[in-house]
């Protein structure tokens, strides 16, 4: 039995949920970034899987979208981590629960 598209989708769903878990259940800002990266990775996996399993692959569109999203995710990570450092410099903490200036 060879893995079907379904199995790949399940895997990416699991990966996505794990990313969500990381983003939701940790207080360290870096964990939130890690979670977001994991979710993006899950999305990429979906792109590739759908591309691979579609009837005819004359155009590598799925691969290209995955490439672009990887590049953008990398930029996002860079800026995000820079933000973490800047926030840390400013508030002396990276605990997102203490960064609640918005609280009404």
């Amino acid at each position: 039995m060879t893995p079907t598209l379904q199995s790949f989708l399940i895997i990416s769903a699991a990966l996505f949920s794990i990313g969500l878990l990381a983003a939701l259940s940790r207080r360290h800002a870096i964990f939130i970034l890690i979670g977001i990266e994991l979710m993006l990775a899950a999305a990429n996996l979906n792109f590739i899987a759908f591309w691979r399993f579609r009837p005819q692959q004359e155009s590598p569109v799925g691969v290209l979208i995955a490439l672009f999203s990887i590049a953008i995710a990398a930029g996002e990570a860079a800026v995000g981590l820079a933000l973490v450092i800047a926030v840390y410099r400013h508030y002396r903490t990276t605990n997102v629960d203490q960064l609640d200036q918005l609280k009404g």
Partner: protein, 665 residues
């Protein structure tokens, strides 16, 4: 030939855009090169629009379009396009000529400003956007340029950011026009929904061509009204006119270019552009939407003219006169005289720009003084400015036979007189014409005639770089009349596509005498009313405005702009504040209290449970305690400022949507 021209028409707006980008990247010290670049870009645009003008000269309603697909979603593509027709071409030329004069003028006017470079970047940006607006062949593209123009105007009104007044005015202008644009946008969406295209002319499939119009059916009126709402916002028609006078906080060339000659005319242009939408299903030239246009125009024209009489700021007088002139244009569009309206729009572009630049030169000469009561007797110290200003004044107040304004006024009165619905607009705008002549006379008397007062002591003539554009514009506003005369209404024919022939007999018509008498009445009245106004300082009669002397209450009413701003402040703004406070209260007390309360309940539960637990009950209760703690914590987390909670709620929402979708599918 014309094919290739229309295909490359986009170059016309592109030139100033590129220039503005280049200038933006210049260092703040490269003043000369910035100015040179800007003027060069404007010259290029002028040359190209002159080339584009040529093919439109062969009467017979020339129209060429160049459409292209912007992007495709699903199977339908969104197409934009450029078009070239007499209306657009004339506007192109007018904008380029006026713009060029104003660019040159501002080289002198802004010479001492520290943000000289930025100023020219913004000016070029505006010019590009405006040129794009007049050649857009798609309501969406027009809307895009429309917003760009609005942005440019915002930037330029607030150009002197250090002045709180300027910042306020910029915000006011932006927000007020946004209100109008909202209507415009709704109309645009609705139009797209109905006709499935936003191209004006698309070889029979455009939304202004019979096929497209047929698809609109009954909704045409409402769409037209929504679009007119946007137009009203942009060209300061009655409910939304409040921003325009305040916009005079910006540098005077900006007032001349944007808030007199070109941008505020965009509303009129828009109405003219989508005129088929307005006149759809017209029975002898009257439709509900057009009627609305007429009455709004009339109200605006009269109200603004009245207010203008009581203003003392040289630029505010002109601003209100602009508003009233735009009202007149709207009227003549509404009563079916598109050509008349556009002719007045073009002529007005020239002489109003001239007047503003003259005012600028006066302000420059009086070292920034703007109160006309402190000026006076400037005709000796600033002869060139005076001469050109007088030309502009007479053109605006519509002195016939020699000045372009006269012919267009006459034309407008003519079309208004022939409106089948009622003759009231005709009489009202006749009054408007008188008032125009009146306040212009008043202004000229106050500023140039009589004896010098405080600010005029050390007045000096402006440098040639400023006076030459004045002369050029004066020239235009006189000789532009040549193509307007009823004897040889070339422009009329050009715009409407009818062939015209020379016929001196038509020069003298009843309407000619009517307008002549109206103007004479206005000027005479003004000369009589303000005969004392030119007296020395300390002269009681000079200090106080004659009208104020006669009718203090009325004068105060007008001087305070009929308290319309205050009215808005009391009603709309107050309402906005109230609702804001209300929602704030809800946030703090209600939406926040709810989870707090729940959290408290959860905590209570957990405390209770721990209490029981401590009495040594088995671990089952322990679990519930943990659960209850979790619940309490979960709920208390719902207070603001917890980024993870936002994320979680987001995720839950997504899940909910997914479930909903799966359930529906």
């Amino acid at each position: 030939m014309s094919r290739s021209i229309i295909d490359h028409l986009w170059l016309v707006p592109a030139a100033p855009f590129v220039v503005s980008l280049v200038i933006l990247s210049l260092a703040n010290s490269l003043r000369k090169s910035a100015a040179a670049l800007a003027v060069a870009g404007q010259l290029a645009a002028l040359g190209m629009s002159a080339v584009a003008f040529l093919p439109t000269l062969r009467g017979d309603g020339f129209r060429a379009t160049h459409n292209f697909a912007w992007f495709a979603f699903g199977e339908q593509t969104l197409r934009l396009g450029f078009m070239l027709d007499p209306l657009g071409a004339a506007m192109l030329l007018m904008i380029c000529v006026v713009g060029l004069c104003i660019f040159v003028f501002s080289v002198g006017y802004m010479a001492k400003d520290k943000n000289f470079v930025r100023f020219f970047a913004y000016l070029s940006f505006f010019s590009g956007a405006m040129l794009g607006l007049v050649i857009a062949n798609s309501l969406l593209l027009l809307f895009i340029f429309w917003e760009l123009v609005g942005l440019a105007s915002y930037l330029l009104i607030g150009f002197w950011i250090e002045r709180p007044g300027a910042a306020e005015a910029a915000k006011k202008a932006f927000i007020t026009t946004r209100i109008g644009d909202m209507g415009f946008f709704l109309g645009l969406l609705w139009l797209y929904d109905r006709s499935g295209t936003l191209l004006f002319y698309d070889g029979g499939r455009g939304c202004l061509e019979p096929a497209g119009l047929a698809m609109l059916g009954g909704s045409a009126t409402l769409i037209a009204l929504l679009i007119f709402f946007g137009a009203a916002g942009k060209s300061g028609q009655f409910p939304l006119h409040v921003w325009l006078p305040d916009a005079m906080e910006g540098p005077t060339p900006v007032s001349a270019l944007i808030h007199a000659a070109t941008m505020v005319a965009a509303g009129v242009f828009l109405v003219a552009r989508v005129y088929p939408l307005f006149s759809l299903g017209a029975l002898n030239g009257v439709t509900p939407s057009l009627t609305v246009v007429v009455w709004v125009g009339v109200t605006t024209a009269l109200m603004a003219a009245l207010i203008a009489i009581a203003q003392t700021d040289i630029k505010r007088v002109l601003a209100y006169s602009t508003v009233s002139q735009l009202g007149l244009m709207m009227v003549s569009l509404g009563v079916g005289g598109v050509a008349a309206g556009i002719m007045h729009l073009l002529a007005h572009g020239f002489f109003k720009a001239l007047l503003f630049l003259g005012a600028g030169s006066v302000i420059h000469g009086c070292h920034g003084e703007q109160d006309i009561r402190k000026m006076g007797g400037l005709r000796r110290s600033m002869p060139a400015t005076f001469a050109t200003y007088a030309v502009g004044m007479m053109a605006l107040s519509g002195v016939p036979l020699f000045f372009s304004g006269g012919w267009t006024k006459e034309e407008m009165l003519h079309v208004a007189a022939n409106w089948p619905r009622s003759r009231a607009p005709y009489y009202l705008i006749a009054i408007g014409v008188i008032l125009t002549a009146l306040y212009m006379t008043r202004q000229v008397i106050y500023v140039f005639l009589g004896s010098r007062r405080a600010a005029a002591e050390h007045a000096h003539e402006s440098p040639p770089v400023m006076t030459v554009p004045l002369v050029a514009l004066a020239f235009c506003s006189v000789f532009f009349g040549v193509v307007l005369t009823p004897a040889w209404p070339w422009l009329h024919g050009y715009l409407t596509g009818e062939s015209v022939r020379f016929d001196p007999a038509r020069l003298i018509q009843p309407m000619f005498f009517i307008s002549l008498s109206l103007v004479a009445a206005g000027i005479g009245l003004g000369a009589w009313m303000y005969r004392k106004a030119g007296a020395q300082d300390g002269d009681r009669a000079a200090e106080i405005d004659p009208l104020e002397y006669a009718q203090p209450a009325l004068f105060r009413f007008l001087a305070n702009r009929m308290w319309i701003d205050e009215l808005y402040g009391r009603t709309i703004v107050a309402f906005a504040w109230a609702s804001a406070r209300m929602s704030d209260w809800l946030d703090r007390r209600f939406w926040d209290g709810l989870p707090r309360g729940l959290g408290a309940v959860g905590r209570l539960l957990s405390i209770f449970a721990t209490g029981v637990d401590e009495r040594g009950i088995n671990a089952g209760v322990d679990e519930t305690t943990v659960g209850a703690r979790g619940l309490g914590r979960l709920l208390s987390l719902a207070q603001a400022g917890r980024i993870r909670v936002y994320l979680g709620v987001l995720a839950l929402g997504a899940v909910a949507l997914l479930l909903l979708y799966a359930w529906l599918a």
